[in-house]
Symmetry: C2
Subunit: 466 residues, 2 copies
């Protein structure tokens, strides 16, 4: 290690308490692995600040000494953005895990960025309210990561993406400047809304340190149904009926294609209430306040769909336990995907009307690569978002790369989005030009240069900047 | 006019059709006046492009020749951002008024920025859907202006600000670069979400030219009630009950303080269903799909509030006409404000729990300036947003300026926002530091310099940049 660098690291060490600085050789493997099994190189060192001021001082030192920084929350990201690369300092926010305030009257929670999503969900629930963001990684992912990646999840159709849940944001810029934006106002048109820049930009423009989040009333009633449909037009019709009759009560509209559903129910071992012979399985969840009759409305809506022939069969949960069972096959998507390893995974947005056609074309294109190449399809159909897990046969020459090239080329023809909710990070950077124009990419670089002129924050994530 | 400038204007003229370029001397007064009666100087010239390509060429020429540009939509802004200043070219988007597509299945409308809000509302309604943005200026304001100012209005509590209704955005940068961001996806985490930069930044970073907007199902049922409350704690309790029981169906929660209500009902001439002796009048609107029982739920909720003593009296509209009548006093706020001219107007966000205390303190502080100084208070209380119109007695020395100084100083102590929905423009620029820190203002300048290095777009609006 060069003398300058080791003296800079000594300076950084001096800014933190003993538990706040871990030497390269001592960094545990969990900081370096993602859920897909990718393992990163050891970083220069690991720093674990406990508060905003420490983050600010550490970044100011990194800025001064030109030390690149990898920012890490709960490490559940799927695009390798959170893993350190050679020569980077690893900044973990895991010790900034304080829920500072739950203001039930104001409907706001103030938290440090390292709070685990599920912890917040539970504390808010104990206070009689709900923080609606919910996703499979809830037990590990952190609020800072949710914000930096603009996380989606299972309730977007009703409550929006993470962006719509952020009321105020505190951010530390690359040079250590703290932007204090923890204002509690839903309406605050006081110039450029800076917080929007840091939501979903994967830590390349600043480090989210604290947030003020929007809370909602707990729905008193929750109704869940699993439906079987015999064609995609029927699925679309059911969605239209749900939107029309459930309106604001529609909380989830998830669809599983047959091949996914079969593998998932087998794995879930929670029974097959509707068999496994239908081409599509739809999970509908509605929620609302007491007396809003959400259960009855859902039942009536699905009854209509049955009478019209849009649905072939329906199972409505009669208890919380039954609801969990119906959700299970959808919940275990990561595990289900693993059953066909090795795989290539995709998280795309498409016009709903063209999804069926896209999936057919994709299946054909992948089969043309190799007869064993097939794809599991499921996702948040009501939001226009599908997840795809393609099996990559060992026999396939350039393997994963070829599957990705084929899929993104097709997606580009459909003008789809190469990332609906997982972000770009490192692993989807090459696909980004399928969804963004050269002018858009150039503007992203302009913003990066303006806010992080030395390029120290999460370098190489999203776009490369000279 | 300098030779360089006149040759540059000749170039710009050549980019447009004859109706697209109006000489300084020929510019009609309507382009120069705002609704509060402020009259601007004549601009260098008026340009009226019909499409994005023309906007791009005009801006490229202005960028090249360092010509500052004032961007104008429907001219209903209340902070003078839309009025040309000395030496500026006036860019009106009024001819870009095409509704390009209403996709009922996808729930999306694609429009040019000059479309008038009410025109869009009506066309969308004819297609069986709803564009939920709604505000008093609906008959004149344009979508581009709504987006550039992140307009709020009467239904924010249910549908969010304009930001939450924008799915895709096409923007022309200062140098003429077109950012084509008309993607139809609610979920699209493909790098920095550039469109967020241009929503609410009042045209200082780019010119919004086209947008893809989110449409909602038309609520089949709409229930409106006017309520009287005898104390602010009671108003808060009614809001809590409405949130709890109406949840996602709560569409508006507007409050009028007595002094405002008395003047407004007198002006509205629609009767006084609850008298005028209560300290607070609350307008509640709920809406939902057929069979959701919105009317019954609202009735039951307000009945509860009456039984608890939170409400003193309630009138529930039994017809559309009655609903309009109940809304009228709230709708005519501009006219009501005019009855106490000369005035100073404010549009603030505050924690709801502290609003009552703030209003009392403000009344005292204004009376201390002058015995005749009083203030009308009303607004979107459910969003934390109040509008204040203060009478400025002629006898008051430095008049309006002193009223503003007093009000903003108090607001800063409450850590309120100096602009909830109207924006900053020119007229609130001096108040901006009450709500934004020096670091935030510096970051706004950094962004302005990065995206508009020659400072030609709406210069001096929001912040001055050297």
């Amino acid at each position: 290690m060069a003398r300058d660098l080791s003296s800079a690291l000594a300076t950084i060490r001096s800014l933190l308490d003993p538990a706040g600085f871990v030497e390269a050789a001592e960094v545990e493997e969990r900081y370096l692995a993602d859920v897909r099994g990718f393992l990163a190189q050891a970083p220069l060192a690991l720093v674990r600040p406990t508060g905003t001021e420490q983050v600010s001082k550490v970044l100011a030192a990194c800025h001064e000494h030109d030390i690149p920084v990898a920012v890490q929350g709960g490490r559940t990201g799927l695009v390798q953005g959170q893993l350190p690369r050679t020569g980077e300092l690893l900044l973990s926010l895991e010790r900034m895990n304080r829920i500072e305030c739950i203001d039930a009257d104001g409907g706001l929670a103030t938290v440090q960025c390292g709070v685990v999503l599920q912890t917040l969900q539970e504390q808010v629930e104990a206070a009689g309210l709900m923080f609606p963001l919910d996703l499979g990684a809830r037990g590990s992912c952190t609020i800072g990561g949710n914000i930096s990646t603009n996380a989606g999840g299972n309730r977007v159709i009703r409550y929006g993406m993470t962006r719509e849940l952020v009321v105020g944001l505190e951010v530390v810029l690359a040079d250590g400047t703290v932007l204090e934006g923890l204002t509690p106002y839903l309406k605050n048109n006081t110039g450029i809304d800076l917080k929007q820049l840091f939501i979903g930009s994967e830590g390349v423009l600043g480090v989210v340190t604290r947030a003020m989040l929007r809370l909602y009333p707990q729905p008193a009633e929750r109704a869940v149904a699993l439906c079987a449909a015999d064609g995609f037009a029927q699925v679309q019709r059911v969605l239209a009926l749900c939107r029309q009759h459930l309106a604001g009560a529609l909380t989830s509209f998830e669809v599983m294609w047959q091949m996914y559903y079969r593998r998932a129910v087998a794995l879930a071992d929670t029974g097959e209430p509707l068999g496994t012979d239908h081409p599509f399985y739809v999970l509908v969840e509605a929620s609302g306040s007491a007396g809003a009759g959400v259960h009855a409305t859902l039942e009536r809506t699905l009854q209509l769909a049955l009478e019209e022939g849009a649905l072939a069969d329906v199972a409505i949960a009669q208890s919380h336990a039954q609801a969990e069972k119906l959700w299970k096959p959808r919940e275990i998507s990561v595990e289900t995907g693993r059953t066909i390893r090795p795989t290539a995974s995709f998280d795309i947005s498409l016009p709903i009307a063209r999804m069926d056609e896209f999936v057919y074309e994709l299946q054909d294109a992948l089969r043309a690569l190799h007869a064993d190449c097939h794809v599991l399809v499921f996702g948040h159909l009501g939001d226009g978002n599908l997840h795809l897990v393609a099996h990559v046969p060992e026999a396939l020459g350039r393997g994963k790369e070829e599957v990705e090239r084929t899929t993104y080329a097709l997606l580009q023809r459909y003008r789809g989005s190469v990332s609906a909710e997982h972000g770009i990070g490192i692993s989807k950077r090459d696909a980004l030009p399928c969804s963004r124009t050269p002018a858009e990419l150039a503007t992203m670089r302009t913003l990066k240069r303006a806010l992080d002129p030395r390029g120290i924050l999460n370098p190489g994530r999203i776009v490369e900047v000279d």
